[in-house]
């Protein structure tokens, strides 16, 4: 099952189970979704529940949040697209960030529990391919810094199904960060995950690969890279444990710390900017809770500290590659490492 099919089936099942669930966003209806995530839903649920909006994110995000105040369960898709279908992204959420933070995340608190906001903001996030600086950025750290929000980021088809269903059923606002480059990827899915009652717990990470020598944390597309790096490392006698975070907020600090206490070494991987990033928070958590267990400085692999360039060679240098993870893991294990090609 592809990630696209997983997301589509999760939406379909939750819309079918609860009339209060509806989908709104740019091109979600007649166009069938800029990435075809919402394919077939308009036909099945009609224009009252699958709403095409104009390209005015502040307006429709506010409308979505208002509908959630009233008790509906909106799924707001962020998306725009250009001719090449190298489409966008969570970037659209920028126009709407005021409503996500000020209108959605804080209302339950400000109203002392009167106004809950059961809404999901979803769409592709992170580095895409060849779309330049304004359409290639990871917002995980931005949203995850805000109390009141829950922030999820799936990697596999099972993640996508289980986490999206959990997000839609959750009574709080959830930012759901997908990755465009994963939509077409296929993953094996268990029978259990295909059941319509399937749901993954929010706030729990998944150990994708057990190991004892070094812990690698990653989310979204970087989980795949981390697993590839672990394969390479295993050939050199390094047994890496790969943690798929799944949930950026709440962050599963106990799984991360338990792993580091076992491996004594940590590499964090993310596509976002390094400063104040998800890796920085994970590093801090391990310093706070497991300082005495560390046998090496924590290594951070992150997007380069630059706006995303367009040229293919520069773009490659700006996002983490498998060899970057391998190199950082070796450094954490005190293996001699070759100089980076571009250094």
């Amino acid at each position: 099952m592809t990630v696209r099919e997983a997301l589509n089936s999760a939406l379909d099942e939750e819309m079918s189970a609860d009339h209060k669930v509806f989908l709104m966003g740019e091109e979600v209806g007649e166009y069938q979704g800029a990435y075809k995530i919402s394919k077939g839903l308009l036909e099945k649920y009609g224009p009252e529940r699958v709403l095409d909006t104009p390209i005015t994110e502040a307006g429709f995000t506010g409308i979505g949040v208002g509908a959630a105040y009233y008790g509906l369960r909106p799924v707001v898709e962020f998306m725009t697209f250009n001719f090449s279908m190298q489409v966008l992204s969570g970037q659209q959420s920028c126009f709407a960030i005021d409503h996500i933070i000020n209108s959605a995340a804080k209302s339950n608190y400000m109203s002392a529990g009167q106004i809950s906001v059961p809404i999901v903001f979803r769409g592709p996030n992170g580095a895409a391919a060849g779309v330049g600086a304004q359409h290639s950025q990871c917002y995980a750290a931005w949203y995850a810094s805000c109390p009141g929000l829950k922030v999820l980021s799936p990697y596999s088809s099972e993640d996508a199904r289980g986490l999206l269903k959990a997000a839609i059923r959750d009574p709080d606002p959830v930012v759901f960060l997908e990755n465009e480059l994963l939509y077409g990827e296929s993953f094996p899915v268990s029978d259990e995950a295909l059941d319509s009652s399937f749901c993954l717990p929010i706030g729990k990470a998944k150990i994708e690969r057990e190991g004892k020598d070094v812990t690698i944390t990653a989310f979204s597309k970087m989980v795949g890279y981390a697993l590839k790096a672990a394969e390479i490392l295993s050939k050199e006698g390094i047994n890496a444990e790969v943690i798929n975070l799944r949930s950026i907020r709440p962050l599963d600090r106990s799984t991360i710390n338990a792993s580091v206490r076992k491996t004594n070494r940590l590499v964090t991987v993310e596509e976002g900017f390094p400063q104040h990033g998800v890796g920085a928070e994970i590093c801090t958590s391990v310093i706070e809770e497991s300082f005495g267990y560390l046998d090496a400085p924590v290594e951070r692999v992150a997007g380069a500290d630059v706006p995303m360039p367009y040229a293919a060679n520069l773009e490659r240098l700006a996002v983490p590659q498998v060899e970057d993870i391998v190199r950082a893991a070796k450094r954490a294990c005190y293996r001699s490492v070759p100089m980076a090609a571009a250094a």
Partner: protein
């Protein structure tokens, strides 16, 4: 006395893309008396809030509504608690109009447990969801798309109710208004956008901020109605008309011409950008409470003394509410960590010193 009494509005309505409601408004002696009392109570409440602020019992921002009472009271007279209201940070009286209590108001203003949001919201964030009041919003203009979202949900739920989203003339120039209005019109949402035009966005006069200050026309393809917002009966008539219109045809803009006697907030004396003569002129000629007083006297519904007694009564009521609110304790420190989420998932949340103060969210 609930017998019907028909009174002519002093000014005509001006319509844009819609019919004009009748200037003859049905009311009753009983209703007029309640208008007088409720507006006098609001006036007194806001003046008391001014004093509490000056004696430093209220913190931060505080935006007062005195002068604009007819908007709230006229609107409430035309709708039910199943209709929704959402407004800006100038929200104390809106909350009271929805059935909130004086004690809840003053306790919230002073950050006490008995406040309508347990002291966690403050002046700008009052709510009463059980009576269809969805806040109190501090981000200028944000309540407009939010209100259209409430209207969306009402239409989606087919419950036959409408939403009134109130904003000032300052917010009337915001981009998100036009984004939300466009979608509301595309979807025929039962949304009434109420521009409370008090003629100053903070200290900027409307003509300095808006190329066209005819806010009722600014929806272009959307119907609009300009209303004397100092005339409670005109407001009632307009809101009744707008509710019927919105249920049939979708969104409509009401521009209510009103005036705030106080400055924008407590930090604004309200005197640098307008003259004292202008303020006192409005008080003398257009005051919404005085207008009702005159009606009550001219129709022999109440004697002067009776009305004076009512004013004394509300004064006492306000003083008592303040005393009660002052007795309410500050929120328990544990409230710091409540209501962050509906479902906290047993996750740990940290205080300032995470080694000292860490709690598990329920």
């Amino acid at each position: 006395d609930s017998s019907t009494l028909t009174i002519e509005t002093s000014l005509p309505f001006t319509a844009h893309n819609c019919d004009t409601p009748s200037r003859s408004v049905d009311t009753s002696p009983k209703e007029l008396m309640s208008f007088f009392r409720d507006m006098a109570l609001m006036r007194r409440m806001e003046i008391a809030a001014d004093s509490l602020y000056k004696s430093k019992l209220i913190r931060g921002f505080c935006h007062l509504y005195d002068g604009q009472e007819a908007v709230c009271i006229g609107m409430e007279a035309a709708i039910t608690k199943k209709d929704c209201i959402i407004t800006s940070y100038r929200d104390h009286c809106t909350f009271l109009g929805r059935g909130g209590t004086l004690v809840q108001v003053f306790a919230e203003l002073m950050g006490r447990q008995a406040g309508c949001a347990k002291g966690k919201g403050g002046s700008m964030h009052f709510y009463k969801k059980d009576a269809g009041f969805y806040g109190g919003h501090g981000i200028v203009g944000a309540q407009i798309p939010l209100g259209c979202g409430l209207a969306f949900a009402q239409k989606y739920s087919k419950d036959g109710n409408v939403t009134f989203a109130l904003y000032g003339d300052g917010a009337a120039n915001q981009g998100q208004l036009f984004e939300a209005l466009n979608i509301a019109a595309l979807l025929d949402l039962p949304a009434i956008l109420v521009c409370e035009n008090n003629h100053y966005g903070m200290g900027t006069a409307e003509w300095r901020a808006a190329k066209s200050p005819a806010y009722y026309k600014r929806g272009d393809y959307v119907a609009g109605l300009k209303v004397d917002g100092m005339d409670v009966l005109a407001v009632k008539q307009a809101c009744k008309f707008a509710k019927e219109y919105a249920l049939k045809k979708g969104p409509i803009i009401l521009e209510l011409d009103t005036y705030r006697y106080h400055g924008h907030s407590m930090s604004d004396p309200g005197s640098t950008y307008r003259t004292r003569d202008e303020v006192s002129g409005v008080r003398q000629e257009r005051d919404p409470i005085e207008r009702v007083r005159k009606l009550l006297l001219s129709h022999d519904i109440a004697a002067e003394k009776e009305l004076k007694d009512i004013e004394k009564e509300v004064r006492k009521e306000v003083d008592e509410a303040i005393a009660t609110a002052k007795e309410s304790p500050m929120p328990d420190p544990s409230e710091l960590f409540t209501n962050i989420y509906v479902k906290g998932l047993g996750v740990e949340a940290c205080g300032v010193d995470r080694k000292e103060n860490k709690v598990t969210l329920p």
